[in-house]
């Protein structure tokens, strides 16, 4: 608004927003804080805020005892792998729908969205049995494939909305300039869509990283990503708050940071381009 805002009103808004913001963030803050406490201090009564002996011991213990690096690598491989695979399949599809739309393009897009409505439990048993029979239960390959497929509609939709914004005339110009379809996509479309592709990648990695139905049901120990690894703390081990906090902090930190960087594009991706 072009109007001067009274200083008082601004202060009240600031105060209210900060209070609520900190309340919402508090559980994360508390987890991170607890990860630096000793187990005794983690459950001390009254709870200690900053005045305790800061220690990195829990991180060391979690890393030693639980094969944390393996699970971390599983998470990385599964989320990055499914994103790259998804991108390879989705870029050509999104190109087609954005630049050579047909009568059925809208239906195809809607249908792709509707596959997201299929409840995962509805297909849990077949996927579980197929994986078991193929001997890929508890393997990274199975999860990469499954997560690629469940996130494919989102990748296609996101790329589609980004491609739609690139004027068709520019691709036509490339065609007039003698570019083949391959050079058109490689030298003109892709470089222009880099910001869109980047945010698609980010969002998809976040979704895959946090996916917790298939990762819990299709893995045991070997291929378990961080979601499943953390779930193992629901047993009595979870009562070791400081270690639980350290493991949790390590599990969420990479994605939290990525998410903060991509929050602007996130809205668009999560709403299939409906809200920008």
């Amino acid at each position: 608004m072009a109007r001067a805002v009274t200083q008082k009103r601004k202060l009240i808004a600031t105060l209210a927003a900060w209070t609520i913001g900190m309340a919402i963030f508090f559980p994360i803050f508390w987890t991170i804080l607890t990860s630096f406490k000793t187990e005794a201090e983690a459950i001390s009564d009254p709870p200690s805020l900053f005045w305790f002996d800061w220690t990195l011991e829990n991180y060391g213990v979690v890393n030693e005892r639980s094969n944390y690096p393996l699970h971390f690598m599983n998470s990385v491989i599964i989320s990055v792998g499914s994103t790259v695979l998804g991108l390879i399949i989705a870029v050509p599809a999104a190109w087609s729908m954005a630049f050579v739309p047909g009568k059925r393009t809208k239906d195809v897009l809607m249908w792709m969205l509707s596959t997201k409505m299929l409840p995962p439990v509805g297909v849990l048993i077949p996927i579980y049995l197929i994986s078991r029979n193929l001997g890929v239960l508890d393997s990274r390959v199975a999860l990469v494939v499954v997560l690629t497929l469940i996130n494919l509609p989102i990748i296609v939709w996101m790329l589609y909305t980004y491609f739609k914004e690139i004027p068709g005339e520019i691709l036509e110009a490339a065609r007039m300039d003698g570019a083949t379809l391959k050079s058109e996509i490689l030298y003109v479309l892709t470089p222009m869509a880099v910001p869109g592709i980047a945010s698609t990648v980010l969002l998809n990695i976040i979704l895959a990283w946090n996916e917790a139905f298939w990762t819990l049901n299709l893995t045991a120990a070997k291929a378990a990503p961080l979601t499943a690894f953390i779930a193992s703390y629901s047993s009595p081990e979870g009562l070791f708050y400081a270690k639980l906090s350290a493991a949790s902090t390590m599990a969420i930190a990479p994605i939290l940071i990525m998410g903060w960087f991509s929050q602007k594009q996130l809205v668009r991706g999560l709403t299939f381009g409906a809200v920008k």
Partner: protein, 334 residues
């Protein structure tokens, strides 16, 4: 060379026929303008020539070879788009060099051609900028540069000036005409602005609903419009078209008289009316006349200034030899 021949081409989008069978001959070195109201099919026609759309039937020949099935890249034509369609992620130099790079030309040759084109178009100082850092007119020039380095058989311009402001538009109009004189290459130019058509063209193609209404030089269209549509479309302000008894007196269904071919007097004349809005341009005055009993609103051009007021009665006399007569089918009677 740049002879283009369209034989009985048609275009349908689904069931809708946008262009009924159409023939057109464009000769090497001509500046041809497709003009018509929006939605008349002029852009579609150009895109058919470019190869960006398939013809539904008929064939297109470029320099005597059948190019109907040839993809756009292989037709040897260059196009300047309405939005300029510059590649935003490439510098001006890379934009202009892109067609050469696609053709697999060596780096040295590319550079030489880009430098040459840039100096013709006054772009030498901007070669390392991105399109986003250029003004509208400069972008326009880059688009033209990208077209000329290909040394195409013909240039296609799709409403290239419509995104520029009025002053710049006049300047660019000159530059494109100048370029045509210099290169002597066939140019096909699409516009909805009949002033652009009149000032630039060797040959104007007037289109309406996919049909060619008339093909001819600017003055031919001005002096001898083939039908009432062309009569009303070409010329500014528009020709006055009169029907009814007054037309019947001249053995016609419709008669037309241009605003500049009507004499005006405050005392006497053939027709009588009441002055509405008068537009004073200094060099000319345009009067809009009501209540003539001939047509809704008659426009008259008076050279220089004229001191009349809203509501004044006024008399008009058409120049008899400048009357255009049209028959019941709208066609010119001679």
């Amino acid at each position: 060379m740049g002879n283009i021949t369209l034989n009985q081409i048609t275009k349908k989008f689904g069931e809708v026929e946008v262009i009924p069978p159409l023939d057109l001959q464009i000769n090497d070195g001509e500046f041809v303008v497709f003009v018509g109201p929006s939605g008349c099919g002029k852009s579609t026609l150009m895109r058919l020539i470019a190869g960006l759309e398939d013809v539904t039937s008929g064939n297109i020949q470029i320099d005597g070879r059948d190019a109907t099935e040839t993809p756009p890249a292989k037709r040897g034509l260059a196009m300047v788009f309405q939005s300029y369609a510059l590649y935003p992620h490439m510098s001006v130099r890379k934009n202009i060099a892109f067609p050469l790079r696609m053709a697999g030309m060596s780096k040295e040759e590319q550079d030489a051609k880009v430098e040459a084109a840039a100096s013709v178009l006054n772009l030498s100082a901007y070669l390392d900028r991105r399109p986003g850092q250029l003004s509208g007119g400069q972008r326009q020039r880059v688009a033209i540069g990208r077209a000329i380095v290909r040394e195409p058989a013909a240039f296609l311009f799709d409403e290239p000036l419509s995104n520029l402001d009025a002053a710049l538009r006049v300047g660019m109009r000159m530059e494109i005409s100048e370029l045509h004189k210099k290169l002597a290459t066939t140019m096909i130019y699409v516009t909805h602005d009949q002033v652009e058509a009149m000032t630039m063209a060797d040959k104007i193609v007037v289109l309406q609903a996919g049909v060619i209404e008339q093909v001819g030089g600017p003055l031919e269209l001005y002096h001898r419009p083939r039908n009432t549509f062309v009569a009303g479309f070409i010329g500014s302000p528009k020709m006055n078209l009169i029907e009814g008894p007054e037309a019947a007196q001249h053995n016609a269904t419709t008669i037309g008289i241009r605003p500049e071919h009507i004499g005006v007097s405050t005392e006497s004349g053939t027709w009588k009316g009441r002055v509405g809005v008068s537009e004073h341009l200094g060099s000319d005055t345009f009067l809009h006349i009501h209540d003539t009993g001939l047509c809704d609103l008659m426009t008259v051009r008076v050279s220089g200034e004229m001191n009349v007021h809203h509501g004044d009665t006024i008399y008009m006399t058409p120049e008899a030899d400048k009357l255009h007569r049209f028959g019941p089918d709208g066609l010119r009677l001679d």
